[in-house]
């Protein structure tokens, strides 16, 4: 029987305690924020949407290679010798037209690994985290600043230039061959050496770019870079040296 009244008493007292607590909380200022209007300040090193400052991008492709999920796609075209692409904000000369710089942000895993290799610090994480889209295609961000026509044109320009160069080379080679033929020398090995000369161009492009990168990567790479650099130095004045080499040959 006493338990019965104890139960009643405990019910009444606990309910009144609970009501006191909730009544106090009625006047406690809200701990929530009005989210879309007010946003919490993000931590200093937050990792959200990537942004590429194309003014500083030299098209070195390092971010793309650092990406563990391959969400960055970069295509570049060499600029013509007479074109001046300007300099980046930290004084690096731009030598490549970036004809494609797509980041598939849907694939992006926000690891920030692309940010560190960038020699010009032009790719970085922003504090934007609301970028949902209805179509997945809209999540492929195109950062290249060139218009689609320009992109095609730059490629064509370079192809034309290459073709011209090849034609010049062929002409020079033909001339050299003719000269050699005239000189009646015993070694006809010259045609084989030309493809060798051409191929390193592609490698040199990459090698040169890698060499610009600061010490962040291992020694072995640096060594490679050095060797690449050594190779690639003449590549800056390719056309001239090529011609000269051809002539000297």
């Amino acid at each position: 029987m006493s338990q019965y009244f104890k139960n009643i008493w405990s019910a009444i007292s606990t309910i009144s305690i609970g009501m006191k607590v909730t009544f106090k909380h009625l006047f406690v200022p809200a701990v929530t924020i009005q989210y879309p209007d007010v946003k919490l300040e993000l931590p200093e090193r937050e990792r959200n949407r990537l942004y590429v400052n194309m003014d500083d991008c030299i098209g070195c492709d390092q971010c793309s290679r650092a990406c563990p999920v391959n969400c960055i796609e970069i295509e570049t075209v060499k600029s013509l010798p007479e074109e001046d692409l300007g300099k980046t904000s930290n004084g690096k000369k731009k030598a490549l037209w970036v004809t494609k710089f797509d980041i598939d942000i849907a694939k992006c895993c926000f690891c920030q690994l692309c940010v560190f290799p960038c020699p010009t610090e032009c790719i970085y994480m922003t504090d934007v985290y609301e970028f949902s889209e209805f179509k997945r295609d809209n999540l492929i961000y195109d950062y290249a600043t060139l218009s689609p026509e320009e992109r095609v044109q730059k490629k064509l320009n370079y192809e034309k230039f290459e073709a011209q160069k090849a034609a010049e080379k062929a002409a020079a080679a033909a001339a050299a061959a003719a000269a050699k033929a005239k000189a009646q020398e015993s070694k006809p090995a010259t045609p084989e050496s030309k493809p060798e000369n051409k191929e390193p161009n592609a490698e040199k492009k990459e090698g040169k770019v890698e060499a610009k990168e600061p010490k962040s990567e291992g020694k072995t790479l640096n060594q490679e870079n050095k060797t690449d650099k050594a190779e690639s130095k003449p590549a800056d004045n390719e056309s001239k040296t090529d011609n000269q080499e051809d002539k000297t040959d």
């Binding site: 009643i8 909730t22 909380h25 009625l26 406690v28 200022p29 809200a30 701990v31 929530t32 009005q34």
Partner: protein, 357 residues
């Protein structure tokens, strides 16, 4: 009363009936439901250190208007295995049951839908219709959750009607009337004439009655809280167990009718408790209309006090809702049969003895 007024105004019996019966709905219950839903959300939010709806209008005051507009536009879904006639009747019945109670509730001394002598008994009887509606809804939805919710609801409402009626009986023994209008009139004057403080007069009986009246007030408040299925007695709607109880399968306006019925019920119950124990429409301090000799002001003041008391009790219901967790089914029955009913019985006996002696 209100019928006579409209009869004199329009000169047509039918019009007078129609206006008199629809007036509380459109002038009171719909606005009340709009305000109460918002109030509920705001009260709950602030009790949980949130802000609640903030986007429609200033601090979200138009949120419920927007909700109603949305509900009106919603598709009225009737699933193929539903028992269609019952499914369609149920919300109407539930709403009718809770709305009919307003016929006997005195809003002011000048406005009472039907001044019947058995007002309080009528209300208790007619709200039994709600149980039928809820059972219908639960059965016709052909869904295990709705059926469970409906069964629980029926068990709960029927159980908790007993303590309610016992307390009402003790009041009827003291006052000798079951008409809510007369009960309210009796408690005129100042707040010490209210039934919770022993009723009118200054006899010894009044002072002896005070503790038993307070116990009676608590019992009827708890049991009516259970009758309208509000937390902590919300096991028929228990969201975490039964989706949303007997109205799980309803959508659009039918759902809105259940919702409206719930809030109408909340107010009806609060109004009954207020009319029985807190003086009904009577002002606690006397009327401005009397002091300034403006007789037309008195009903307006009475309406204000009536709404104030009703809304205050509704707010306390909300306060309890956001304080207490839900009872288990056995606890629910234990509270009713082991605590409320015996106490109400003892209370009834003591009150009876006091009034006789």
């Amino acid at each position: 009363m209100i019928y006579d007024f409209f009869y004199n105004l329009t000169g047509s019996q039918i019009l007078a009936y129609i206006i008199g019966s629809l007036l509380p709905l459109f002038a009171f219950i719909l606005p009340f439901a709009l305000v109460a839903v918002l109030l509920e959300r705001k009260v709950s939010a602030h009790m949980q250190d949130r802000l609640g709806p903030m986007r429609v209008g200033y601090h979200g005051i138009l949120q419920t208007v927007a909700d109603i507009l949305k509900l009106i536009q919603k598709e009225d879904i009737v699933a193929s295995p539903n028992d269609k006639p019952l499914f369609n009747i149920a919300p109407v019945l539930v709403f009718a049951g809770s709305y009919t109670a307003f016929a006997a509730i005195p809003f002011t001394s000048a406005f009472i839908g039907s001044n019947i002598d058995l007002g309080i008994i009528f209300i208790i009887a007619i709200t039994g219709l709600v149980v039928a509606g809820i059972l219908m809804a639960g059965w016709a939805s052909n869904n295990k959750y709705t059926l469970l919710g409906a069964m629980r609801s029926a068990a709960q409402i029927i159980s908790y009607e007993i303590p309610t009626i016992l307390v009402v009986l003790s009041l009827i023994m003291i006052t000798g009337t079951a008409s809510l209008n007369k009960l309210s009139e009796m408690q005129t004057g100042h707040f010490w004439h209210w039934m919770i403080l022993g009723g009118p007069g200054l006899s010894l009986q009044k002072f002896i009655l005070i503790p038993f009246m307070i116990i009676g007030f608590l019992i009827i408040y708890i049991s009516t809280l259970a009758e309208v299925n509000r937390t902590p007695f919300d096991i028929p709607e228990a969201e975490s167990e039964l989706v949303s109880g007997y109205h799980t399968e309803y959508s659009g306006m039918k759902f809105a009718m259940f919702f409206l019925a719930e809030y109408a019920n909340m107010f009806a119950v609060s109004a009954i408790v207020a009319a029985l124990f807190l003086g009904g429409y009577q002002s606690p301090f006397g009327y401005l209309g009397n002091t300034f000799h403006l007789p037309w002001l008195i009903p307006i003041e009475q309406f204000f006090w009536f709404t104030f008391k009703g809304v205050f009790l509704v707010v306390v219901q909300m306060w309890l809702r956001w304080t207490l967790p839900r009872l288990r089914v056995d606890q629910l029955m234990a509270v009713c049969w082991k605590y409320l009913i015996p106490i109400a019985f003892v209370n009834l006996l003591i009150v009876g003895l006091i009034t006789v002696l």
